[in-house]
Amino acid sequence: MEILVCIKRVPDTSENEITVNKEGTDIEREDLVYSVNEWDNYAVEEAIRIRDKVGGTVTVVSLGSEETEEVIRREMAMGADKGIHLMDPALEGSDGRGIAVALKAEVKKGGYDLVLTGAQADDGAGQVGGMLAAMLQRPFAALVNHIEVTGADTLRIGREIAGGNQEFSEIRLPCVLSIQTGINEPRYVGIRGIRKVASVEIPIHGISDIAVPAETVGKTGARVKRIDYFTPQLGKGAEILEGSDEEIIDKLIEILKSKGRIK
C-alpha cells in the first residue's frame, strides 16, 4: 500500500509555556522547542505498522519553512521510507484550505492509496484532512483510533466518538483518515536512528513542481486569517496559594477540611 502521512512542525506544549508576544502579533517564538505534532506522530507510527503488515511504502510530507526538514527526518528515522518537503514563498500564510490545495496536488502526483493526517494540532483546527478528502473526492473519516486492512480496497476503521465509545465502519480505498492519539504506541526514536537518515536527500517541492496556481494558496487564497493573538481573561480565576510548600499544604488541608474532604 502506498501511504502518505501529512505532518506538521509545531511548538511542543509539553516543553514550552506558550505566551503572546509584546505586539500581540504572534506567540513568543524565541527559545521555543519544536517537535512533530503529537497526532501526526501517531499517524506515522500507524502507517509504518500497516506497511510492515501488507507491504508498500510510507512517505511523509510537510509544508513549512526550512526547519521543517528536522521533523521530516525524525519521522524517517522512525521508519518512513521517503520524505517530501513542500516549501515555497507563495505558500506562506496559507489557511487550512491553502494547505489542503498543495497537499492535494502532492497526492495526485504520487498516487497514494491511503492518506493519513493527525486529527488536529495544538496551533490548528483539525481541518486539513477533511478538506483534502473532499478536494480529492475520496471518502474520509475523522478521529480514527483503529485501522485494520480487511481487503484489497477496504479497511475496517474505528472512530473515537463521545463518552469513550467507538464507532466502527468499513471504508473504501483510496481514502483519507485523520488519526486520533492513542491509536498505537509510537516507537522511540534514538540518536542512532536519526544518524542513519541524516544524509538522505529530502526533495523540496515548490508550487511549480506540483502545478498549484499561486493565487489558490498563501495569503491571497486564505479565507480565514489571524488578526492578532491575546491572552484570555476568563472568570475570576483560581486563588493562588502562596508561601513555602509547608504553608501552602497547611492552607490546602484547611480548605479541604472545610469542604469536609479530610476529617
Binding site: R97, D122, G126, M131, E167, F168, C175, V224, R226, I240
Partner: protein, 327 residues
Amino acid sequence: MAPMIAYILHKNGVIDDTALELKSAAEMLEPEAVPVAVVMGSKKDVEGVCQEAARSFATVWKIENEALSYPNAEVIRPLLSRILPKGSIVLMPHEHFSMDLAPGLSICQEAAYLPDAVGFEAREGQSLRAVREEFNGMVRTHVACDLTQGAVITLRPGAFTPNERKDKSGQIIDKTPEAFQEGAPTLQRRFIELVEAEAGDVDITKSEVLVSVGRGIEEQENLEIIHELGKVMGADVSCSRPIVDAKWMEKSRQVGTSGKTVKPKVYLALGISGSFQHLGGIKGSPFMVAVNKNPKAPIFHVADVGVVADILDFVPKLSEKIGEAVK
C-alpha cells in the same frame, strides 16, 4: 442576505442542547435573518426533533430516510450539499461528528471554514471577526473570516449563550424529495457497529472526590504518588487523556468529552493543563484545586484554588501531611 443554516444534532429522538446555542450565534451574525434548522434522521427519530426545533426556529427542514438512522458524515455531506443554497452560512457545534462532516462540507459548498469558534466580536460587511483558541486555550486569536462565498462555522459547545426562548411555531418543510432526488449517495463508508466503552473497576462518574492526574506526571512509575494521595484522601483516581493514550491507565478512568463525564464534589487536577475537552467532562461545578507548574495553564482560570508547583515534588509532601492529619 446569506441563508443562515443551523445543523441540529440529536440522539435517540432528543434534540441536542447546542441547538439553542446555534440559534443565538445565528442571530448575532445576522440579526434580521430567519435561521433555518436542518434535521436529518430516520423516521423514528426525526419527527419529535423537528417539532422541538420548530419551537425555536421559524423554519425547519426535515430530511428523513432509513439511510440516516445512524449519522454518517459521508452520507450526510453529499445530501446537504444538494439542498443548501450556495453562499449559505452553516452553523454546527464543534464535536466528533462535525469534525467528520464540516471541513469537507466547506469544500463542497466552496465556502470558508471557521472551526471551533468561541465567540463572534463584530461583523463588517462580509468579514466576520471571531475568536478562536490555540494551544489548549493558553492563547486566543482574533480571526477574520471572509463570508463572501458563504461559510461553514463550528461553535465550541457552551461558548455561546443559548437562546432559550421557545416562542416560535415554526413551519416544518419536508426536504427529503429534494435531498434524495438523485438517489442515495454512493456509500463509500459503511457504518458497522458502535462499541460502548468498557466499564472499569471503579465507576468515576459516581465518585465524590477525584484525584485526577495529567501529563505533568511525566513517567508511568510516578503514578504511585497519585495513588498514594488517593488512598490517604479516600478518593478515587482519574486522569486526563495523555495518561490513557500512553496506556498507563484504563480508558474508564479518563475524564473528558471523549471519556467519562464526572460530577464530584471536590476535584483535584494535578498536572492537568485544562483543555476544553477535559473540562467538558466535569459537571456540577465541583470545588476544584489545581496544581500545575505552569502558572499560565488554563486550568487556573476555572479552578477555585491553585498551587503553582511541580506535582512530582508537591504531591508526596501533600500526601504525607494529609496522612498525618488523618491519623
